[in-house]
Symmetry: C2
Subunit: 227 residues, 2 copies
DNA sequence: GCGCGGAATATGTGATAACAAAATTCGGAC
DNA sequence: GTCCGAATTTTGTTATCACATATTCCGCGC
């Protein structure tokens, strides 16, 4: 099977599993509280236990999974306090990232952000909520990446991952903003105008609105998680 | 329901290795750029490759190690920019933690911090720099723990771990403060007086002084790392 | 002496097996 | 019918093995 003998194709299996699990968590395939079983995952992916184990260990270290009873790993059930904390940290850290990004972004960078946001809006209008969420994530990660702070970027990715399993709650969520008032637009404008403070405030408002909506839904999420 | 079913005796080997490596990294046993070899570590600890592999994978996920050429793991060589970033994030995040801690700390908590700082001062006066560093770490972690923000605590632990390999540079470092002016004292006072702003500023000053000292030393550190 | 190439060694990866602990199922006593 | 305990099954952990690739080392030719 050397379709790609040396190219991108032959990543390590453990890395592939890790990426796959990350994505599935982001797509809310697993519910909060669900236990992830080694042999089940290994069979589904057609690999042995070893790389699956490594991937799970990494996700535990990233706080994307929770080690329960010193043995199995499960998707964390976020308490109200914990979700509040994650959101608060996102507000601080993504706010800082947006601020820094606005100091450094070129107009081409701003265009890229605008393109992502356009795809996100399109998906939202067509009711493809899954795609909308993916583009939303892209928007935030792209903004963070513009700050050119790799350590911060990894931390923010970790925070997103912790909220990932909750995203399915947003699938039925009403529109949070009128399209023309969406905070992302202000973020993009701030990039073009090199206005760090505006960028920070707009990003923080975006996250705050998202957080409030999620926190209101948390009780019903954790009820369904119990089942 | 035993008193302590699996308390001390048989922790998982992989966890033990992970803790051990964390500690060794903090104690600067490994130099920046050093490659960590599976079989060497396994032999030293008297275990097989599997748990060592898992521990290394976790440390890579925690940014405490760096995956090089998609195969081996090595202790990261921090660039000037990267060290600056880590320190900047520490100033933000530990500042916030100290602020929050000051809102919630009891006077018993303040006593505990004072005790840690006293041990640190004692170690410093006696020239036991290694012990001093350990107590310094304890002081910062204990303060963060008082903030009652577990997610933040894990992030800060990760940032410390990234600086860990550099700590050996501080062994010969001159005193950064006169004992009575040490910022830790101001932090403790802020806890007693419930003064969040003072707590944040004092903690930030402490980290800033440390950071500047470390940044000045970075060139020579990275030279020795090359060897 | 220098560079090159191949062999020997070192090193990491993934699969499998043996084992231990936990969860589940089943059967019998009441 | 219910509850308790033993047997069975499930599940996670570690060690070992086979293999692929990277690195080192040595000898040969120039």
């Amino acid at each position: 099977m050397d379709a790609e003998p040396r190219a991108e194709g032959h990543e390590r299996v453990a890395i592939r599993v890790h990426h796959w699990l990350r994505t599935e968590l982001m797509r809310s395939r697993f519910r909060p509280g669900e236990k992830l079983k080694l042999r089940t995952l290994a069979e589904e992916l057609g690999v042995s236990l070893t790389p699956v184990r490594e991937a799970l260990a990494r996700l535990v270290s990233e706080n994307a999974l929770e080690q329960i009873d010193h043995r199995s790993a499960r998707v964390p059930v976020l308490s109200d306090e914990r979700l509040r904390e994650v959101c608060e940290l996102r507000i601080d850290l993504e706010g800082k990232a947006a601020e820094r990004a606005a100091e450094r972004a070129s107009s081409a960078d701003a265009d890229r952000l605008a393109a992502i946001h356009a795809r996100m809006t399109e998906a939202r209008l067509e009711g493809r909520m899954q795609d909308m969420m993916i583009e939303n994530e892209r928007f935030h990660m792209a903004t963070c990446a513009l700050a050119d702070m790799p350590v911060l970027l990894r931390i923010v990715e970790g925070l997103w991952l912790q909220c990932g399993p909750l995203n399915f709650a947003l699938k039925q969520m009403r529109f949070l903003h009128k399209p023309e008032e969406h905070p992302h637009n202000a973020v993009i404008r701030a990039m073009r105008e090199r206005d760090p403070t505006l960028a920070r405030l707009a990003m923080q408002r975006d996250i705050a609105v998202y957080s409030d909506a999620l926190l209101r839904r948390l009780p019903e999420i954790n009820v369904t998680a119990r089942a």
